[in-house]
């Protein structure tokens, strides 16, 4: 009995806290058990291993280059890496932070700066939230994306100051226009050195006047801004709700209070918050969610071992409405049932066809799709509840066994909803 429950828990964990597992990887995880797997995913070895892989070769991403080609390659590399990462939770959290602390390549233009920001999310995304926030505020891609790089003490630019409060941290209702202005002034002077791609502080562009910000007096620089934000009574619950929403679908009040308590117990340690959320999830307290196109695609690629041409993936993801490094606006991607829009449905069909057509003949999942046992297919796909509903079953039965059936299976509600 325990084995069955553990398998369901680990299927859930693989699909929601990572980018899926192959049937062989899943078996190994089941042998370890859910709690041990959560600790393994959060271990310092995993984080060290993730940090040691910088993903992109800087030589491929020259700072002087704003070419589209480099950007496409940088996006393609990250997308395909998600499907093979040996550190799935680190990369899943990096993906979450990318959708939260948003920057976008279409404005940042230099792909290296975007790559460096993703590297930050991979190295600090499970660490101390205060350190992550401080690093985000002076992250070069962020300084370009929300115009901090052009903000000066005499003429502060409010773009970052507003979104820092409205979207990234305390939320609407917790601040007013004076906080936006005070934050912008305190952060003025930080800009990007175009030669090195690094953030630099130019004292003569900075307004060091001490102001009241989020109810705290004496705020005048990055550290005092960060201190006021993380000290705000709403901050921990907002970030707990973000992580809860991402990993658990939605969190009710009691669960949210648990997550917030776990987050604040150790001075806003993100790993503690994630551990609490994942423990609740493997305990059956998660809600079903619609997988966004990128994690969905990564899961399909990992399951099959397919390595399709990056150009086809990019085109499909554009139609789906989710291209890594190109969120639609500073609020990131809309989620949930927005992914049932017609364009996304059509794009999933195209991407599923690309993945299925590029699946090696040796793939366990493809062999399951070639058999006439739909339960075998559902198990191979790692579905938490390994059954297809009536509609999906009749369509899968009508599909040609093998590649066509596999592609269709990726489109079924049972596979798309995790």
């Amino acid at each position: 009995m325990r084995a069955v429950d553990d398998r369901a828990a680990l299927c859930w964990l693989a699909r929601r806290a990572g980018f899926g597992l192959t049937p062989e990887e899943l078996d190994a995880a089941v042998r370890r058990g859910p709690q041990a797997e959560i600790e393994r995913l959060l271990s310092s070895e995993q984080i060290a291993s993730a940090v040691s892989n910088r993903l992109w070769d800087d030589a491929d991403l020259p700072l002087t280059n704003k070419d589209r080609k480099e950007g496409v390659a940088a996006i393609g590399l990250w997308t395909t890496y998600m499907a093979v990462t040996p550190t799935p939770l680190v990369d899943r959290l990096a993906w979450m932070w990318h959708g939260h602390f948003v920057s976008a390549l279409d404005k940042v233009k230099v792909a290296r700066l975007m790559a460096n920001q993703i590297r930050l999310f991979r190295s600090a995304g499970l660490g101390d939230f205060t350190e992550l926030l401080r690093a985000v505020i002076i992250d070069p891609a962020m300084l370009v994306y929300l115009d901090g790089a052009q903000s000066t003490g005499t003429e502060p630019n409010e773009n970052f100051g507003r979104e820092l409060l409205e979207l990234f941290t305390v939320g609407l209702g917790a601040f007013d226009e004076n906080d936006v202005k005070a934050g912008a002034a305190a952060l003025s002077g930080w800009t990007v050195d175009r030669q090195t791609g690094l953030a630099v502080f130019r004292l003569r562009r900075h307004d060091d006047t001490a102001r009241t910000f989020l109810g705290r007096e004496g705020v005048h620089d990055v550290d005092t801004v960060v201190g006021a934000v993380v000290g705000h009574p709403q901050l921990a619950a907002r970030i707990a709700a973000l992580v809860g929403g991402e990993l658990l679908g939605s969190a009710n009040e009691a669960l949210l209070a648990e997550l917030t308590a776990a987050f604040t117990a150790n001075d806003l340690n993100i790993a503690d918050l994630v551990r609490a959320a994942l423990s609740a999830g493997v305990g059956g307290r998660a809600e079903p969610v619609v997988l966004a196109p990128v994690p969905w695609l990564a899961i399909a690629m990992r399951l099959t071992g397919a390595t399709p041409p990056v150009g086809a993936l990019g085109l499909g993801l554009r139609t789906a409405g989710q291209v890594p490094m190109l969120p639609p606006n500073v609020a990131g991607w809309p989620g949930g049932v927005a992914w049932f829009g017609t364009s996304t449905v059509v794009a999933r069909a195209n991407l599923a066809a690309v993945v299925a057509n590029n699946t090696p003949g040796t793939s366990t999942v493809l062999r399951a799709a070639a058999s006439n046992d739909l339960t075998e297919l559902a198990v191979a796909l790692g579905l938490v509840d390994p059954t297809f509903g009536d509609g999906s079953s009749s369509a899968l039965a009508a599909a040609k066994p093998g590649v066509q059936r596999l592609a269709l299976a990726f489109c079924t509600p049972e596979f798309v909803v995790a």
Partner: protein, 417 residues
């Protein structure tokens, strides 16, 4: 004989639209059915019959995401404008005059639109915006798409589309091009969303019948049932789109593609085809982004407005060439105008009162609304025209029940002639 696809491959734009429409007229004269989309043979002219003229009124909304800077779009002659924008004001020599108007001019990129104004077929609505504005993109957009019904999950157009009996058989009844359009979201009604018309088609590997099979029977799980409904909506929309634009070519990478990228010129070209088709289209929302010009606004807005000006001009010409001018109203929306005073980055921060535009022979041509640069609201243009006034006109145009969307009519200014 040239196929429809061949025409499209020749390039987007007016010439193609006219060529297609002339095919359509010929076909109609030959007596092809007009009421429903006929079965088509790929590559034949048969499908062009969907481009026949329908009869109902159509609304096309152009959404400029990010908050277009109103003051550099419709430029006031008030000297305080130049004082507030020492480096960002449009040079007087570059301004495009509007016939019969002395206190406003157009950004040079919008020169193609001046003749419509001169002919009485365009109106500009400066100062449009909700009372008690906030400077958040997201609050402002929410208020616009819900028509200020805070907390509502339905959009101002979705609420009337819910009542449209043709919705079930008309996959493209309301179509969002370029990005999602929450204003089209109803209690039950879901619009067709086409982010990339160039790749909006099913792959060769998976034919539509597999998805229609998977959609039945409806699951007892609400999420699965929604996914099944999305299958049916998507298969329908893909079919109608193929009738309109032709089948895409299958590429070696197995993602279906047609020619064309996405900007307003391209999006409005497709909107025009949708508007004059007999696919039952009533509303099209075309969205583009990039208007959040906190920095280096001059160059950015210049190219964005060129896309808008050229796109609307080509759209109006396509509609006219199809003989459908009397049926199609175009209106532009954006979340807010920007701060009057330019910032230190050559841009403008979030503001309040904005600008909408309306095009078509049915509009009450002229300037409706007012901006007083001597009476600002915390540095912003004070909203003087409720967006629901624009919505009332648009809903009237669609013959929809205004009250069911907006609660009451907002017709203190008559925007339709």
């Amino acid at each position: 004989m040239l196929s429809r696809r061949h025409f499209i491959q020749l390039g987007a734009g007016l010439a193609v639209g006219v060529a297609l429409d002339s095919c359509a007229s010929t076909r109609r004269d030959l007596g092809a059915p007009a009421a429903s989309a006929p079965a088509f043979t790929p590559g034949s002219l048969g499908r062009a019959s969907v481009a026949q003229h329908a009869t109902g009124h159509v609304l096309v909304v152009v959404q400029l995401n990010g908050g277009n800077d109103a003051l550099n779009t419709l430029v006031p002659s008030d000297g305080r404008y130049r004082d507030a924008r020492p480096t960002l004001a449009i040079p007087e020599a570059d301004l495009v005059a509007l016939r019969g108007v002395s206190d406003w001019s157009l950004h040079p990129s919008l020169a193609p639109l001046a003749p419509y104004f001169a002919a009485g077929n365009a109106s500009f609505l400066p100062g449009i915006g909700f009372d008690d504005p906030e400077r958040s993109h997201f609050v402002a957009m929410d208020r616009w798409w819900r028509a200020d019904a805070i907390g509502a999950t339905t959009g101002w157009l979705g609420r009337v589309l819910d009542a449209d009996a043709t919705a079930a058989d008309t996959p493209l009844l309301a179509t969002a091009l370029g990005s999602g359009a929450p204003q089209l979201r109803g209690q039950h009604f879901q619009p067709a969303t086409v982010l990339q018309p160039s790749s909006f088609a099913l792959p060769r590997l998976l034919d539509a019948s597999l998805f229609t099979t998977a959609a039945r029977p409806t699951s007892t799980s609400a999420l699965v049932a929604q996914a099944q409904a999305a299958f049916l909506a998507s298969v329908g929309a893909v079919g109608s789109f193929a009738e309109l634009l032709g089948d895409p070519t299958s590429t070696s990478t197995d993602v279906a593609t047609r020619a064309g990228g996405f900007d307003l010129v391209h999006g409005l070209d497709i909107a025009a085809k949708l508007a004059v088709s007999n696919l039952g289209v009533r509303v099209v929302v075309v969205s583009v982004g990039g208007f959040d010009t906190h920095a280096n606004q001059a160059a950015t807005q210049k190219s964005l407005l060129a896309d808008l000006g050229n796109g609307v001009d080509a759209f109006m010409k396509s509609i006219a060439a199809a003989g459908a001018s009397d049926r199609v109203l175009l209106a532009t929306t954006t979340e807010f105008g920007r701060r009057v005073q330019q910032n230190g980055s050559g841009g403008t921060d979030h503001g309040a009162g904005g600008l909408s535009m309306m095009f078509g022979p049915m509009v009450a041509g002229g300037i409706h609304g007012a901006v007083d640069l001597g009476d600002l609201l915390d540095g912003d243009i004070r909203p003087s025209l409720d967006p629901r006034t624009l919505y009332t006109a648009c809903l009237d145009w669609l013959g929809a029940a205004v009250e069911s969307s907006l609660g009451k009519r907002y017709d203190q200014v008559a925007l339709l002639a």
